[in-house]
Symmetry: D2
Subunit: 442 residues, 4 copies
Amino acid sequence: MLFPHSSAALTPPMGWNSYDYYDTTVTEADVRANAEVLARELKPYGWEYAVVDIQWYAKDAGARRAEFQYIPFGDHAMDEYGRFQPDPARFPSAAGGRGFGPLADYVHSLGLKFGIHIMRGIPRAAAHRRLPVHGTPYTAADLADPSSICRWNPDMYGVRAGHPGAQAYYNDLIAMYAAWGVDFIKCDDIANTNMYPHAPYSGRAEIEYLHNAILHSGRDIVLSLSPGPALIEQAWHYAQNANMWRITDDLWDKWEDVRAMFDRCELWQDHVAPGAFPDCDMLPLGRIGRGFGAERATALTRDEQRTLVSLWCLFGSPLMLGAELTQLDEFTKSLLTNREVLRLLPPSFRARQLAKDEAGAVWTCTGPAGADGQPERYLALFNFCAQPRTMAADTAAVPAWQGAAPAAAARELWTGETLPLPGARLAANVPPHGVRLYKVEG
Amino acid sequence: MLFPHSSAALTPPMGWNSYDYYDTTVTEADVRANAEVLARELKPYGWEYAVVDIQWYAKDAGARRAEFQYIPFGDHAMDEYGRFQPDPARFPSAAGGRGFGPLADYVHSLGLKFGIHIMRGIPRAAAHRRLPVHGTPYTAADLADPSSICRWNPDMYGVRAGHPGAQAYYNDLIAMYAAWGVDFIKCDDIANTNMYPHAPYSGRAEIEYLHNAILHSGRDIVLSLSPGPALIEQAWHYAQNANMWRITDDLWDKWEDVRAMFDRCELWQDHVAPGAFPDCDMLPLGRIGRGFGAERATALTRDEQRTLVSLWCLFGSPLMLGAELTQLDEFTKSLLTNREVLRLLPPSFRARQLAKDEAGAVWTCTGPAGADGQPERYLALFNFCAQPRTMAADTAAVPAWQGAAPAAAARELWTGETLPLPGARLAANVPPHGVRLYKVEG
Amino acid sequence: MLFPHSSAALTPPMGWNSYDYYDTTVTEADVRANAEVLARELKPYGWEYAVVDIQWYAKDAGARRAEFQYIPFGDHAMDEYGRFQPDPARFPSAAGGRGFGPLADYVHSLGLKFGIHIMRGIPRAAAHRRLPVHGTPYTAADLADPSSICRWNPDMYGVRAGHPGAQAYYNDLIAMYAAWGVDFIKCDDIANTNMYPHAPYSGRAEIEYLHNAILHSGRDIVLSLSPGPALIEQAWHYAQNANMWRITDDLWDKWEDVRAMFDRCELWQDHVAPGAFPDCDMLPLGRIGRGFGAERATALTRDEQRTLVSLWCLFGSPLMLGAELTQLDEFTKSLLTNREVLRLLPPSFRARQLAKDEAGAVWTCTGPAGADGQPERYLALFNFCAQPRTMAADTAAVPAWQGAAPAAAARELWTGETLPLPGARLAANVPPHGVRLYKVEG
Amino acid sequence: MLFPHSSAALTPPMGWNSYDYYDTTVTEADVRANAEVLARELKPYGWEYAVVDIQWYAKDAGARRAEFQYIPFGDHAMDEYGRFQPDPARFPSAAGGRGFGPLADYVHSLGLKFGIHIMRGIPRAAAHRRLPVHGTPYTAADLADPSSICRWNPDMYGVRAGHPGAQAYYNDLIAMYAAWGVDFIKCDDIANTNMYPHAPYSGRAEIEYLHNAILHSGRDIVLSLSPGPALIEQAWHYAQNANMWRITDDLWDKWEDVRAMFDRCELWQDHVAPGAFPDCDMLPLGRIGRGFGAERATALTRDEQRTLVSLWCLFGSPLMLGAELTQLDEFTKSLLTNREVLRLLPPSFRARQLAKDEAGAVWTCTGPAGADGQPERYLALFNFCAQPRTMAADTAAVPAWQGAAPAAAARELWTGETLPLPGARLAANVPPHGVRLYKVEG
């Protein structure tokens, strides 16, 4: 039976992640530069994690980008126990076996928390070289399951479920990360092991090993699982073992991706709880795409961006920003620092889809009681159409608001406009792919 | 977009249903006799619905039971508008077109509520005879979709989704039931239309028609959807339109069926809310099976029965009793009248699976704060094994109980035994397929 | 165990079918007019069947075509035993219970054979009215399986597999058709009962009933099964019980449909045998579409039409012409009367795909030995591209031609052009979506 | 487009294979000893191939048999180009880089042909070490696809389809085998790459590479593809590129396995042709199982063994014997040397299932015309039941025999008993799981 849940991340984690801009190529200098902006500009609003995403150990990261995102049989920095280390050419402070310790220290010195990305399993190179597993009598060849691979990344073999050394391997690995000062681990190829359409949850045992290893480490480390879509049938197991799990495949700056998230949020809305968050993926806002060979400003319109941020906050998704932060523009910053919108993020503000059809969706959110003894009430109108249109909702018909004072007015949180609600009915013109997000008042 | 939710059934409905004992053959006299016992013996404990299950309109019900549960092209009581009426031979008070009105009146006179079973759609016989649909310019042949049938019952065609008369048909039908005094409708072949493995939710539009028709009727009628397993992907849609929906195929008095419900409850535990209840199916306790040609006392052991009632109450399932009530024995009655166990039923007592493996499960339940300001705390140990075994749980590790006073003792709700909890650890010997259900105290 | 195979149709049946032009609306006058042209113009080339396709019993056929191809709960001509009869308004000679006898006589008088379309099963209307089944102690309600329906046509219920009256029902029905003089039965909703994705071959028992009934009738009746795609896993069962079976869903005058047939022909090429023919569907050539509200000349280009006829003949598919014959134009007629191409149709001319890729296909065909002791040899180059291109094949590499005299020249069967084959290599420029079909000579 | 077919194996290959007895552990001495018996005892009856099955390159083969059939990250003999070599400890004559040349020479000296087993792809160890690919500018890391693996064997990565070095790699490999004198290659993990339920034919390109490489080698090498079940949808592609392909998963000495082959043979009976044989798998007769830790005499009864040999010969499957030959007993030998039964093996003796149900099957076989101008006729009655029972067939009803002289008598090919056929009807008592295989005479 499983151990109890970590106490980390009682509200959705907020931070910055290197992937959307840098892909596999991020460097220590990049992380420091972004973290500095994060600390200075965004931390006052709750953004606190700086996360180094995939293949920080690859010496040849990005070298053959036209052919491969992840070079097969690539050259990876690794210690004598087969544990990946930051590539010292990209992360100079890692030289001498110090790993991410110095960089984590720097990030901590900014008042931030430090996160890394890992892949499920044990390096293939370690298994083929039969390297010893630190602190165990086993070699990587003993633990690696040669038939458990990732469909899209060639670096790892899965660890044999049930092997006597499996938990010890993960304990040792997480202990090393804890010693470095890691606060957040995004483990990939594990929430949905989509190599195996017939067995999409074959990472189950490794999820438990990771969870147990974090408890064993004694450090409060947030555990984030990727990729999505997570399996709704496993909702309990994710929540029991992890703090967040991706409910979607990679999201990019396309309206279709944002639109599809409404279906995901409908599906997962009952599964948002303190310490356990369905994850709508990173925010592809601001400057993104350089490592992918397509540097650009986000292709989402301003209305689409407001829709994205509104939905993520209402739903209660973790917020991980993809933008390159030294180039953060004012509009993007305004999206990320709207205190009234960010206020809706914690699970104590409970959101619920009220209606959805081909043309749009209506969500409500109910917060704790305010000074007047009334619960805070929010209502969002989302327009899926390419044309503006008038949308309406009857606030008296919201089940959770039965018994509250009749709604008399509403204030839009992005524009500040105030609307009277005759007969408790809210109606507004909503721009294409846009949102009107109201605080409803008695 | 959809109308708001009915206010009926804010706690899980409790009652009696004719199916498990009578199958298709129940009569007015049977319903009256059972309802009388229900009112006298069980109503004080919250049991209030008396529900007439399937084919009350069939004149030949049960006549060819060895071949057919539902006789194809059978002889059904029907008015000139193609609306099924209670077979007057079985339900004499229905004579003269009074339908279930007199029986509902009698049930109401006992202080109870009255429910009926219906099948999705419009009678095939009405369509083939082109009978007019009351209050509309259409005939049944216009509304019936000849390619929408039920896999296991031959009585109906589905109603064409989107037909201009579709909502009117359902409005008329529900208005007739409301006029009869019906308080509860169990609609079948609709939660999972398992005729169509490729389109298991093809009853979606008809669910909405029913919901709208109930709102339109102005009567508080509980809407119950069958059969299961309901589709977890449609959890929001069920909750938006119905009060309860079956999360399992038919459950009978076999341990395998009870055991399988733990998997269902794991899956649906986050979807229990006021007015919207995942339904674990009827309780096959006491005397059952006569209509099926297999009259018997339930084949579940006493421990299995306690397990069943404990799980249903913890989880918050509707409780619909299958037993023939004039033969209600003392043991069965004791299961149904344990106020401390029934207390856990409402969604304000929030249950959560803490652990599950091949050998057993642990559930917790957290209720509102008591007089001491502490939330009520419950913990259940379920043993899936055929041997007794000692099970244990660490009450300090329950996430929802962080901050509460340390657990010091526990009282078992079926036996009354009290247990000290050294170090907040609860350990008990649990009988085969049995339960130990504790109230934890500070 | 199954009875042996009928001796009918040792070569692929050739004829005319009413569907592509008339849909459900064909009349006796239409059939006579078409049959007369068939007899006069095409019979000398082997075309001999005149087939009346679907719903000849419907009194309201086509009346609500914008809504329904097959009107639900429609008005059908039927005798007192529930056997469909030709609608006497459309087929006047059927009056007085003579069925298709007089029309069949007329068709026979032209030297042709007569065919009809039927649906698997027993009329729903007969079952709901409980009509007696002729020559048996049963009613239609006894034999009809109310859960066995057709996805796209509302007229029938499947017959209960294994019911003691099932074979007797089919024997009686086929005896009636045999008495009318029917030579060809196209049974629909049976080769692939696509209502049930999980059980696509649920018409299996009814296929056997039909086969046995034909043997029992003592008349040589060709049995044709629809719709497709037939299931390759059931190839033996089709061949054991029927003379032809559709390997494709409906084919229309679109290049995509013709292109897709190359994949079907690859799949079924080893299953063409005397009396047992995979069926590529009717030829949508000439004037078609009136009953569908879209009368037109075929939308296929002349090259696409030659491709179609060449592939059907090479492969050995039955040839059923969809054109309205009183409007038969010279080009279409030329396609249907090329004796050198039609010569390839019998299974004694064995065809085989030699190669296929995205751009085209090469087929060979090997016939019986000619006067010189050499087998006849044919090679077809099919161009799938929208541009003309040069295609080539090495005739020395055809496995079936090992040992034959080296190929020296080739004559194209549509154009008559002769080509030298230097080094036994055939190369030709093939038009877009076109064919070059060569007879290879030593 | 594809090259023409090899001329090897116009009749089903017959021989001996090391797998059923030795598993991965066979040695040169074993091969020589078995080949000597094969040449002396069985070659006069057509048995001619001696095949070394899986992992002849493994230095640790069988060393951890309780845990692994194929040791992950095992120690394999390999040349500097990453080409597996026979383990010289097991195959001493391979020392000095001579590979299987000396052993092939010895086998050839016995008048036999020599075969080996290979796995699809390129060794994982070669890819991780980036070894050069002989005769190309590439390394194994360039050619290996790290996401293409085998579910059950850890030795290889698939070769990248479409890589400019892919065909060259296979050409080089097959050239090495040709230089050794290999006559038969059984390639595994290729007919059905069952790692990928969503893409079971992902070895398609490698099948073509192998076929082309064999043509390129200039040596007549039989190509055999495993494992099964082969995909009926790909029947043309197998036949175009290979000489035999497994239509079943591994077959062992269990009645269920033999019984299931009747379904496979029904499915594939139209796909048996010269040079292209659906393969029913090896014959688990005589002494088998030592390498698997379960040495035994075959567990099939004598009747089951006759059934197996009769079906394989009728159907036209390759015959690869699994027995250890130095322990060949008289009964087993009698099964393998019945000239009248073996006579049915070539495709010129065309077999066809006449009937099959739950209790048994009837097959016919029609051979070339004999001296009397009549085709040879055979009929087999197979009893699937565990009790003896009388089976019968009407020889006049066999489609292929229309026109032949009436059958008057029948001689059983295993017992020699002769049976009169009154009214051309053959009836016999068939033992449990047994066969009666008759030659029918006029």
